[in-house]
Symmetry: C2
Subunit: 466 residues, 2 copies
């Protein structure tokens, strides 16, 4: 732990604390941190930059249904999310996935059933071999100590594209794997550290666990949208007089001294004994610190850019794809949609398709004219499921790269060398500042489950110091 | 060019400009921008965060000599630096390099003369082949349009370590090349994009041109230190009533509207028609923009972390290494000093050695106790040049990673995928904001020469709009 320089003289504030802990960010991580701190008896102030809670989860009424502009799924082994949903009486339902799937690979469209893609037998064998090898490799990378993995420095000095090239020789297999990787990270395989990739897979139980619907991270949805979890947590906290939750309070500066922290935000300042930053590292890097955090921590925040994801939500009068025997799933290397899912509301009243534009395609998406973007998306859905796709009821794009208080989605990624340079500073406190956020999680990193786990861990750290 | 959303209504400021152009940063790039703008008739305000000009050049009296804590050399083909030195009557002198050199490779110490390292003949042949190939490859990467290079996306999706592994099989050759790469970028070969690397080499005329003393970028030094160039430029500008240069004015926020820009700094705000950011992209990413800059530009600032360099300046009563026939140059894979140079003052009155701690070793350097760090450095100099190294007169470390207004040195690097995602936003204006800084240069990127070129280019861009 890098201990900040403690100031000799007391400041004007020293000793006079407004609260025990100031939590920065009211996404799932920050809210879970706050609720765990309250359960431990600490007084808390939560500062949130936006005018809403939920962070990268954000549900909105679209064409009569509560649909998700951000994170939206829950899968097996995400026990914290499941328990929270149950506590808050947030209902879930299975993601629809019955029927034929569409694959657009290297300009060729095909359809397939079950989970075995329509590629030739040789490619299937190579894919199976690659998945087996990947699963063996990822198990060797401890999520909480990735540099303990065999050959860790070498793996961190190569991209996932380089790593994948070693094992996958067929273009079709590489194309399919890249579609999964792009969607999971919102980034190209050529941007990611191979060591980080394996660690991330391990945190979520492997590539298939992360990529699949049934038995995977996309298995369940929330009837009222995933933001219901944050809204529910926030509603409980609002009834608690020892907790103060402030919206529209972006944090600009955090000062540490021998007695505590002073957190300056757009509408004032709050004095606490400790602070927990429950925001992505890249965003934490835009706060001014006095004294400065360690050089290694500072570097980390400059080395975890956010992935790029545009979610496209398209509703229709009828679920025409289901009528034609399609599940609504499609994978495409042609784009702009890398992945498509059925996203119909739980009651079937709002038929909906959901498409992901990710990685390189997403980073420049918002610069193109809206009409052209919409045309490209409807073309892609037409190619997959037929011309009915051209007559949507609602067409909504959510480009997370243009959200100033996210800067991207789903997760802050690690480029090569980031882990080797700073294996510990992701989670280690810096003086009186502790770190939560799904990027710091050791289970289901990058997912809602990870956000909750990180909040529990950070709250426990602080409670032992109070 | 991404044009910011222009606001319909005029703000309180609209129309009332304090100056034509606000330049952020008074390093060589910002000062050159300002002087070129003044030459074109524009009124200018330069805002500098520090209490000095010069940015990553910073000269100080150490043991009676003006020595450089930052950038310090000039080489052939750096015509702008040479011309500026002449204009300002800043004197130069050749870097000392006569005598035997020391090589510490894989635990083995050897000595050699001239420029041919003491490695076995097979290794020499492989190194020569690798250098020839590298030179052929770098010439194919246009500095102003790197994605036009053959195989550009593939090269940007691999690290320099991966790229080097393809051509260099011998550990000794790889070790030597990595020493050069680490020192040039302050980063590990496993962190850098291969495409960026080739582009950077091309901007400076190839790896040997960047790495060598005689005939290379380290050929000449400045009698009064390299900061004399910035001090000289600033002194001229201070006599000019149409230019305002303010120190201790870190910029927090830049607002654009239909008539101009409002730049908010620690001590107030300045209104101009245009702004030029003459700071590293990583630092520019910490400014708040209203309206937000394009997502692609925002991403760039999150993807160009600063290299890490600690300069260690050690002065002695006598130049004992010269007396023993050493040039003062050493290359080591053992560390902590990757590279050592003679750094004696021009008059020989202050014998001095200069060591570089770079990349991974530098990132965590400041976390170790000072006594231990000093011990390790003197051990290393002893191994190279003998036990006299243990009795320095002055011992000074300059750790650029801990400088809040640099965040590292010598240059903002590009990790894999950065160029592919955003080939244009490095230099393209964002509305009324233009970009200078050595990272944006198309000749000698990362060097003083590049800083000057970038300032000339940015000033010319703005002048055509005034």
């Amino acid at each position: 732990m890098a201990s900040p320089r403690e100031q000799g003289g007391a400041t004007a504030h020293a000793g006079a604390h407004d609260v025990d802990v100031v939590v920065v960010g009211a996404g799932l991580a920050g809210l879970r941190t706050a609720s765990a701190l309250r359960a431990g008896g600490a007084t808390v102030c939560v500062l949130e930059a936006r005018d809403r809670v939920g962070g990268r989860t954000w549900s909105e009424a679209i064409d009569g249904a509560m649909l998700d502009r951000g994170g939206q799924w829950m899968g097996p082994s995400q026990d914290r999310v499941a328990a929270l949903a149950q506590q808050l009486s947030v209902e879930t339902f299975p993601t629809f996935c019955d029927g034929r799937k569409v694959l657009e690979l290297g300009g060729r469209r095909s359809e397939y059933e079950r989970d075995i893609p329509s590629i030739n037998p040789l490619a299937l064998v190579q894919m199976q071999a690659a998945l087996t090898l990947l699963d063996r490799q990822r198990k060797k990378v401890p999520v909480d100590a990735p540099l303990d993995a065999p050959d860790a420095l070498r793996l961190d000095a190569m991209t996932v594209e380089t790593f994948r090239d070693r094992y996958v020789k067929l273009g079709s297999v590489a194309g399919l794997m890249d579609c999964a990787i792009r969607t999971i990270f919102g980034a190209e395989p050529g941007e990611l550290s191979a060591l980080y990739f394996l660690m991330y897979l391990n945190a979520g139980g492997g590539l298939l666990s992360l990529a699949e619907i049934r038995g995977g991270a996309q298995q369940e949805r929330f009837v009222d949208g995933a933001q219901a979890l944050s809204l529910g947590l926030a509603a409980r906290l609002r009834h608690d007089s020892a907790l103060d939750l402030r919206l529209r309070a972006p944090v600009h500066r955090i000062t540490q001294d021998r007695d505590g922290v002073t957190v300056t935000h757009a509408a004032g300042e709050v004095r606490g004994r400790y602070a927990v930053l429950a925001i992505a590292p890249s965003l934490a890097g835009r706060i001014e610190y006095e004294p400065a955090l360690s050089a290694a921590r500072d570097q980390l925040t400059r080395r975890m850019p956010m992935g790029a994801t545009v979610k496209v939500i398209v509703t229709y009068a009828r679920a025409f794809w289901r009528e034609r025997g399609f599940s609504g799933e499609a994978i495409s290397t042609r784009g702009p949609l890398t992945l498509v899912f059925d996203n119909t509301s739980h009651d079937g009243q709002t038929p909906c398709l959901l498409g992901f534009i990710v990685g390189r395609a997403a980073r420049r998406w918002s610069e193109r004219p809206e009409r052209e973007r919409r045309g490209d998306v409807l073309d892609a859905l037409d190619r997959c499921f037929g011309p009915d796709a051209r007559a949507p009821v609602a067409y909504v794009e959510q480009d997370w790269s243009t959200e100033p208080f996210s800067g991207g989605c789903p997760v802050g990624i690690m480029t090569p060398g980031t882990l080797s340079n700073a294996p510990d500073v992701l989670r280690s406190p810096q003086g009186r500042i502790h770190f939560a956020g799904t990027e710091t999680a050791t289970v289901w990193t990058g997912y809602m489950e990870g956000a909750l786990e990180s909040g529990e861990r950070a709250a426990a750290e602080v409670l032992t110091r109070l």
